[in-house]
Amino acid sequence: MNEGTHGTWVILLTLLVAAVLAVLPLAHSLAWWRPEWMLLTLVYWAIALPHRVGLLSALAVGLIVDVLEGAPIGQNMLALGLVVSLAGLMYQRVRVFTMVQQAGVIFVLAGIHQLVVQWLQGLQGLSPSGFLFLLPALTSALLWPLVMPLLRGLRRNFRVI
């Protein structure tokens, strides 16, 4: 097993689970509360393994999210690509942050993601939703303290490097 390809299946599996959670049917009243599972997973891997998960992975995952959501191809590619690039710029700082600070960073990143998506939806003529679109950023940030230790445990247990 050569350096740098160990445990790819763990990354893919976590992304698959995130994809399932992202399309899990939810009551319509709760739809805005759904956290951005794919973003959470992707940002974790981008911060933990920046040499493996970067812009290209973000574009690939974005393509999948676009097809799953029925959005025009490129919408989530752009938003996730931007967010992962930002995460790649500051992974060294984020790693030493406390959990609360990290959650704050996730709120900002998910907020940027939602903003870009909202902007692109405006271009397509979909009605704006007020500030509701920031709710997923909030729930994503609140879930980070649960998701991060879980993914870190997986990464350490299966020695994904």
Binding site: L16, A19, V20, L21, A22, V23, L24, P25, L26, H28, A31, W32, R34, L55, L59, L63, I64, V67, L68, E69, G70, A71, P72, I73, G74, Q75, M77, L78, G81, S85, L120, Q121, L123, Q124, G125, L126, S127, S129, L132
Partner: protein, 275 residues
């Protein structure tokens, strides 16, 4: 990074303006079918429970109720055959096309678009069983939407309430034509550009008019819930409530053979180049 942004911009433009990525999208969608199937497992389990774990008294109640319903429906169908024959004869007199019964295919909803501003469903039927783009989708109570994307095993349906969706309708009572547009809320359609003097009232049933050649004629779409006539405005503000159970249905019907298949399609007038 710059290259990535350029690539994404090109893709977005290609998809939004020229819909040139349909094949790629349908291939990826086919590959992603398992994701929807896995996400559907909890619902499947709860449905299985509903079907298989029931008290005897409830089953007996159900049985009784269904028997009565069946009797009523059968009673009504007795007249259907003669009414249909009548209808065909009268239409023949009027020289218009016969109203045929539409073939339907039962589909099951296996997913809902996770994006709250997009009202889309994923069905478990695809190109393998001849689902086609633009096909109408109904449930027991009315029109739900139309197919906008077909992969080999699944298809994606745009609901009538999506802000990008409009359906040509007519008032069942008097045949007044209008267009019902989605506004992004599951229990509301807006009917724009109806003159303030038009005869349309609260409680009117709106059915598909078949104009536009997309939806078959005569399926209920919505019931008018509110009509506001402001003397200062040229048009009335009308909102309607969709009759179909858009957020509750599980089994739905794909209708084969819209008006496009039956009546001659109106040719779009040749556009005269004005430049």
């Amino acid at each position: 990074m710059g290259l990535g942004a350029l690539l994404v911009a090109v893709l977005l433009a290609a998809d939004l303006r020229y819909s040139g990525l349909e094949t790629a999208r349908s291939v990826i969608d086919t590959l992603l079918t398992p994701v929807y199937l896995i996400a559907d497992i909890p619902t499947m389990i709860s449905n299985w429970q509903d079907d298989n774990i029931r008290s005897r008294s409830r089953l007996l109640d159900d049985n009784d109720r269904l028997r009565r319903e069946n009797l009523v429906l059968q009673g009504r169908t007795q007249q259907l055959a003669s009414l249909q024959a009548d209808n065909t004869r009268l239409r023949a007199l009027l020289n218009s096309t016969a109203l045929l019964r539409d073939d339907v295919l039962v589909g099951e909803i296996i997913g809902v678009s996770p994006d709250p501003v997009r009202h889309q469903l994923v069905l478990d039927k695809g190109a393998e069983v001849d689902v086609y783009l633009g096909q109408a989708l109904i449930d027991a109570d009315g029109l739900m939407g139309q197919v906008v994307e077909v992969s080999s095993t699944t298809s994606r349906v745009l609901l009538v309430t999506d802000p990008t969706h409009s359906v040509p309708v007519q008032v069942n009572r008097n045949g007044v034509r209008a267009v019902a547009e989605g506004v992004g809320s599951l229990d509301e359609l807006a009917i724009h550009h109806v003159a303030a003097t038009t005869d349309i009232q609260q409680g009117d049933l709106l059915v598909t008019s078949g104009l536009g050649g997309r939806f078959p004629f005569g399926y209920p779409v919505a019931v008018v819930s509110e009509v506001q006539r402001n003397p200062g405005e040229a048009f009335a503000r009308i909102s309607a409530r969709p009759t179909a159970a858009l957020d509750r249905a599980r089994h739905v019907l794909l209708v084969f053979g819209g008006p496009a298949a039956k009546s001659p399609v109106l040719e779009r007038p040749v556009e005269v180049a004005s430049e």
